[in-house]
Amino acid sequence: MSTLAPEIYLIETVRRLLDGTHHVAIGANSPMPAAAALLARRLGTGAARVSMQQFPQFSSFTDGGRELFDLAGQGRLDAFFLSGAQIDGRGNINLVAVGDYAAPKARFPGSWGSAYLYFAVPRVILFRSEHSRRSLVERVDFISAPGSSPPGVWRRGGPVALVTPLCAFAFRDGGFHLASIHPGHTLEEVLDQTAFDFARPEKVPFTAAPDDTTLRLLRDAVAPELAALYPHFHAKLFGC
C-alpha cells in the first residue's frame, strides 16, 4: 500500500464522495476530479454522466455558456467542484482578493460561477491543492460564495467535503470535521497547517486506499482516458 502515489488517495476519496450521483460537471485544469469521476463512472458507483466543457468528447452542451448554470438551476447537476484562494472554517470561499477589496494585497481572477453553483448544486466538493494556514484561513477576506445560508434562503446544496493533499474534511452543521488523514501524514501536520478550527473524532482514520478491483479499473480503463485529457497528470501517476 505504501507503493500507491498520494494522488491515488485523493482520487479514491473523491470517487467515494460521488457515490450515487448521476451528472457531475468538472471545470478546467482539474485532472484529479476528472480521474475520480471517470473512475466512479467505470465502477458504476456514480457520475454516470461526466461533463467537461473543454474536452469535446465530454462536452454535451449545445446551448452556450449559460447551459451549465441553467441546468444546475433546473436541478440537473448533482455534483461540482470548487476551490478558493482562501477557504475558511465556515466553508466560505474567496476567489477575489486578499486584504482590503478596494486596495488588495493580492488579486485573484474573480468569483467565476461559485456564487451561484455553491447554492444550486446539491453536492459541492472543495478541493485545495495547497494545504496551509495561508489558504485554509480562520475567516476569508472576501466571501465569493458563503458556505451556508440562513433558513429561508433558497439553497439546494453546498459544500459536502474539503479535500487537500493532507486530509479530507466533511462539512456539516456549518463547519468542517476531519474525516481522514492520507497515509504519510499526521494529525499534527493537519493541525499545524490549518488556520480554522475543525471537529475531529477521537481517533482519526487514515484515508482508505482503493480496493484491488477499483485499482485495476483505474489503471486499465481510466488511465487511458486520462492520458488523452491530462497527459502530464497521467504520466506522473502511471508512468509514460
Binding site: Y101, R107, S144, P150, G152
Partner: protein
C-alpha cells in the same frame, strides 16, 4: 461588404461599452490589437462571463475605464497580471460579478426587460460591491425569500471571432450559443471571421440554426487565425510559448510595454 480590421475597430468609439467573450467562444484578438493601435480610451469592457489575454492587454494598454467580469484569468497562472496590478493600484473600476449574473444581465437586455432574477448569491460579498444589484423579497413567494435582481446590460458593441460569415452578412457560430445572446443584447456586433463564404447561410437548413443573422451584425472583417495567440475551437490551439512569454513580460509595467511594442504596436502586431 467585409471591412479592414482598422475600419472595423473604428466603429468602437472611445467611452463606449464593449462586450466580449471567453477563449472558448472565439476571441477577436487581431481586432483587439487593432483597437489598441487606434488608441481606444475609456472603454467599459463587459466579459460574458470571463476573459483572459484580451482583457489583460486592454487594461495594460490603458484602453479601459471599467470592467465588469466574473474572472480575468490566464491559464493556470491565476489572475491576468495587468488586471491584478490595476486592481492593486486602484486604477481601474472593477465590477466583480459571477458568471450566471452576466449571462442574466445580457439575457435581460436580449429580452428588453429591466432585469432578470437570479438564484443563489445571497450572502456573497459581491452584493456589497454592486450597488446596481438589488435584493428583494420574492414577490411571488410567501415572504422571507430573498432574491437577487440583476439589471440589464446593453453594450454598445459586441466584438467576437467566428469561423465564417457569408456575403449577406450572416455569421455562423456553431455551438457558441452565448454569442447569440451577446449579439442580441448589444446595439451592434462587430465580427472577425476565419473566412467569408459565397452565398447565404440561411439557405442551408443545416447551417442556418447556428447562424446569427445580419440583422444584428454591424460589421465583418476577415481575419484568418484572428484569435491567435488564443485557441479557436477545434481549429487551432493556443500558442503556449507566446502566452508564457506574455506572462513573463507582463509581470512588470516595463515588460508589458516591451510586449506591446513588439507584438501589438509594431509590425508583428498585424499578424
Amino acid at each position: 461588404m467585409p471591412l479592414s480590421l482598422d475600419d472595423l475597430v473604428a466603429q468602437i468609439p472611445d467611452g463606449c461599452t464593449l462586450a466580449v467573450c471567453p477563449d472558448y467562444s472565439g476571441v477577436a484578438m487581431a481586432a483587439t490589437r487593432a483597437l489598441i493601435r487606434r488608441g481606444a480610451r475609456d472603454l467599459t469592457l463587459v466579459t460574458l462571463p470571463t476573459s483572459s489575454l484580451q482583457a489583460d492587454l486592454l487594461i495594460g494598454a490603458g484602453c479601459l475605464r471599467a470592467i465588469e467580469t466574473s474572472a480575468v484569468a490566464l491559464g493556470e497562472a491565476g489572475a491576468g497580471p495587468r488586471f491584478a496590478a490595476a486592481a492593486k493600484a486602484g486604477s481601474l473600476t472593477i465590477r466583480d460579478a459571477t458568471c450566471p449574473a452576466i449571462h442574466a444581465a445580457l439575457q435581460a437586455s436580449e429580452k428588453g426587460v429591466p432585469f432578470l432574477p437570479l438564484r443563489g448569491v445571497i450572502g456573497s460579498d459581491l452584493i456589497k460591491q454592486r450597488p446596481d444589484w438589488r435584493v428583494i423579497d420574492n414577490p411571488l413567494g410567501s415572504g422571507g425569500d430573498p432574491l437577487l435582481l440583476v439589471p440589464a446590460i446593453r453594450p454598445d458593441i459586441a466584438l467576437f471571432h467566428a469561423p465564417f460569415a457569408d456575403e449577406a452578412g450572416n455569421v455562423w457560430v456553431g455551438r457558441r450559443r452565448e454569442l447569440f445572446t451577446l449579439a442580441h443584447a448589444s446595439a451592434g456586433s462587430l465580427v472577425t471571421v476565419e473566412e467569408i463564404r459565397p452565398g447565404n447561410l440561411l439557405d442551408d437548413e443545416t447551417l442556418a440554426p447556428a447562424t446569427i443573422t445580419s440583422l444584428y451584425i454591424q460589421g465583418i472583417a476577415g481575419a484568418p487565425r484572428g484569435a491567435w495567440p488564443l485557441k479557436f475551437g477545434e481549429r487551432y490551439a493556443e500558442d503556449q510559448a507566446h502566452l508564457a512569454e506574455y506572462l513573463r513580460l507582463a509581470a512588470t509595467a516595463e515588460g508589458f510595454q516591451q510586449y506591446l511594442e513588439r507584438w501589438v504596436l509594431g509590425p508583428e502586431g498585424h499578424r
